[in-house]
């Protein structure tokens, strides 16, 4: 449903912080649609907050090209079609100077057609499906590790500890599907590690009742179970797994399990759940402490990787504009394709198609109410608790 005028309003960031020369000049306006309502709202809000903290920092350091930078954003209601309309509007009606990516692969994939058409370079902090970058598009640039790698940690942890069988389910949209089904994704990884994949099935977006699916999973009885989810479904699925007593030796979700709210809602039922993350607090990257501090102070919660990636993505974009000395799409693109840097999020380098190739993911496990990084070994801060005990013993 539509948000009303007050809800879907232009969120113009009046950044009072900047007391700088160049105020006489109009600010640089960067446009984006963000999922503030609908299925992806929890994650979209993290994205919005990441952008907010970034622009505050950017403007405290003098903005870019001698101008302040502000975000013009609208709510796409987690709907790719709406995202397309909003980017059209941002570029043609609002005449923004540049654009930056929306939340989710599905929406990025849809709006990338618009940004290509108008030749706007779009850095996409949370579009992580490889196919987005492999369609001959010129102007879309990735920030995080692509979808195929999301379940690798979970599978590797279980395989190294004797797991024999695996099962996967996924929301039937671009990113979750790709993280399970694409060449080199979960199913392939499991097979390569010698696991037998006994069950793979999709479920529609918006599913709230997983009873029949879990009944089938239980019959398949896998040692390791990976679910390519977003947030609401990850919560509903975990609850019903407990109700129907489906307890694989290792269970992980792709997206949503990393949000602090996941644990808040599920409490001890979130214990032992694995999840991949593009970033966690405490990793040894530059500016990490300052970012986490600023985020906590402003929003009274810890940033998730969605916030961190949006923060760093926005920093990288503004930095590229500064280096290019212009917001012209082709010149900014040149800079981004050559850029090799380490940000608060970690390493950044893309190939000639804009696909991210340097960033590294981690896998965490909820242990005693905390996300402990358990994979890969070189970044781990604890050991996985494997196998997961019965539901009654968590």
């Amino acid at each position: 449903m539509h948000r009303n005028a007050a809800g879907a309003l232009i969120v113009v960031l009046a950044l009072v912080l900047s007391r700088l020369p160049g105020d006489a000049q109009a600010p640089l306006r960067i446009g984006a649609s963000i999922s503030l309502t609908g299925t992806y709202a929890s994650l979209g809000q993290m994205m919005k907050r990441g952008y907010d903290v970034c622009l505050k920092d950017v403007n405290a350091k003098g903005g870019a090209l001698g101008r302040k930078v502000e975000l013009v954003s609208y709510d796409d209601r987690s709907d790719p079609g709406t995202g397309v309309k909003l980017y059209e509007k941002l570029i043609t009606e609002d005449k923004v100077d540049g654009v930056i990516g929306p939340y989710s692969s599905a929406i990025t994939e849809a709006v990338a057609n618009v940004t290509e058409k108008y030749k706007k370079v779009m850095l996409t902090p949370l579009g992580a499906t490889s196919s987005i970058f492999k369609k001959g598009r010129r102007y879309v640039i990735g920030v995080i590790t692509p979808s195929e790698a999301y379940l690798e940690g979970l599978i590797d942890i279980a395989a190294r500890r004797g797991a024999k069988t695996a099962a996967f389910i996924y929301e039937d949209t671009l990113f979750p599907k790709s993280s399970v089904r694409d060449p080199g994704a979960a199913v392939d990884i499991a097979k390569k590690k010698g696991l037998q994949v006994t069950f793979v099935e999709a479920y529609p977006k918006g599913t709230t009742d997983f009873a029949a699916l879990i009944t089938k999973l239980k019959a398949a009885g896998p040692d390791v179970f990976g679910a390519a989810t977003y947030f609401d479904d990850a919560v509903a699925l975990t609850r019903q797994m407990k109700e129907l007593n489906f307890s694989p030796k290792a269970y992980g979700v792709t997206v949503g399990g990393d949000l602090p709210k996941f644990y808040e809602l599920l409490k001890q039922n979130a214990e032992y759940v694995y999840g991949p993350s593009q970033w966690e607090t405490g990793l040894p990257y530059p500016g990490e402490k300052e970012f986490v501090e600023a985020f906590r102070q402003q929003f009274k919660e810890d940033p998730s990787y969605h916030a961190a990636s949006s923060y760093s993505g926005c920093q990288i974009y503004v930095d590229a504009v500064r280096r290019a000395g212009s917001i012209d799409a082709d010149r900014v693109r040149e800079v981004l394709l050559k850029l090799e840097t380490r940000t608060t999020l970690g390493d950044f380098k893309v190939d000639q198609d804009g696909l991210q190739i340097a960033h590294k993911m981690v896998t965490f496990q909820w242990q005693d109410g905390k996300k402990i990084i358990v994979w890969p070994d070189e970044l781990a801060s604890g050991k996985p608790r494997y196998p997961t005990p019965a539901w009654t013993q968590r």
Binding site: G7, T37, A211, A212, K216, N245, L265
Partner: protein, 290 residues
């Protein structure tokens, strides 16, 4: 994959439990359609209000969600009566498109007001998260209680409609507003009470669902669709039909998810809808008596 009797049994249990809830929620929609010929698209968003009410009673006052249910129903009855008296009453006798537009507007307004007031944050009532195991079958506690209460509330509504003077007056108005008026029934008042009653049923649905799924402003819409499906299956305005349609929908969803795929289960429900409309347009038990 071979389907064992064990799996089939488990899924039938889940289907019936889900179906009982569908039936109760859809009965509200059916009542409004029967008495006023209004398709209330705001039914789902009203259910959402019931879920939020339960959330706030639970987290604010520490009230057990099941004890809070009667309170939620009373409040939602009031909300419904108010909405009917101030808004819906104006379009009851107008062409059906008018009332459709109006309730559509109410639905949008409710969702957006909820987003403003409560934000889009996901909330939940963590209560009874485990299940009972009987003979190898798992019975989710929250879903069993929801199913039982839904059946009880639906039965109560049937008793009320069948036995009480007011209930009979509602049915009379449903059959023929003009004759009811001639017989001395205050049709306007009956309509207001019916709308209140329907909202109370939606609110009860919201309270029961609050314990099972994430609570957020947009959680209701899917229930408008499901309720609509149920009353078309059972026969619009046919009250026992809502019960049949609800259970049928619950079973069809779960069984097709088991025997086919989860992805196809939604499609199967709507194919069934088309089939029923083609073969028996008045619903399986026939439309409202005229």
């Amino acid at each position: 994959m071979t389907i064992t009797p064990q799996m089939l049994g488990q899924v039938v249990i889940s289907g019936i439990l889900a179906g009982a809830l569908y039936a109760m929620v859809a009965l509200g929609l059916s009542l409004i359609f029967g008495v006023m010929r209004v398709i209330n698209v705001a039914h789902g968003p009203l259910l959402m209000l019931g879920a939020f009410a339960t959330y706030f009673l639970y987290h604010g006052l520490g009230l057990n969600p099941y004890l809070g249910l009667p309170l939620v129903m009373v409040v939602m009855f009031g909300v419904g009566a108010l909405v009917q008296r101030t808004l819906v009453a104006r379009v009851v006798d107008a062409p059906e498109l008018q009332s459709l537009l109006l309730t559509f507007g109410i639905a949008i307004a409710l969702v957006n007001l909820a987003q403003l007031a409560f934000t889009s944050d996901i909330r939940s009532v963590e209560y009874l998260t485990a299940s009972w195991t009987v003979g190898g079958f798992a019975f989710s506690k929250s879903r069993v209680i929801a199913g039982v209460l839904a059946v009880a509330i639906t039965a109560g509504a049937f008793l009320f409609l069948g036995r009480t003077r007011l209930g009979k007056a509602i049915r009379a108005t449903s059959q023929s507003p003009d004759v009811a008026l001639v017989c001395g029934i205050d049709v306007d008042r009956i309509r207001m009470i019916t709308f209140g009653l329907a909202c109370a049923l939606a609110g009860a649905g919201g309270a029961l669902i609050a314990v099972m799924v994430a609570i957020q402003p947009e959680m209701g819409q899917i229930w408008t669709f499901k309720s609509f499906l149920v009353i078309v299956l059972g026969g619009a305005g046919n009250y026992p039909g809502a019960l049949l349609g609800g259970i049928l929908l619950g079973l069809v969803e779960q069984l097709s998810s088991l025997l086919l795929t989860a992805q196809l289960s939604e499609a199967v429900s709507y194919v069934l809808l088309v089939l029923v409309l083609l073969v028996r347009p008045t619903g399986l038990l026939g439309g409202r008596a005229t």
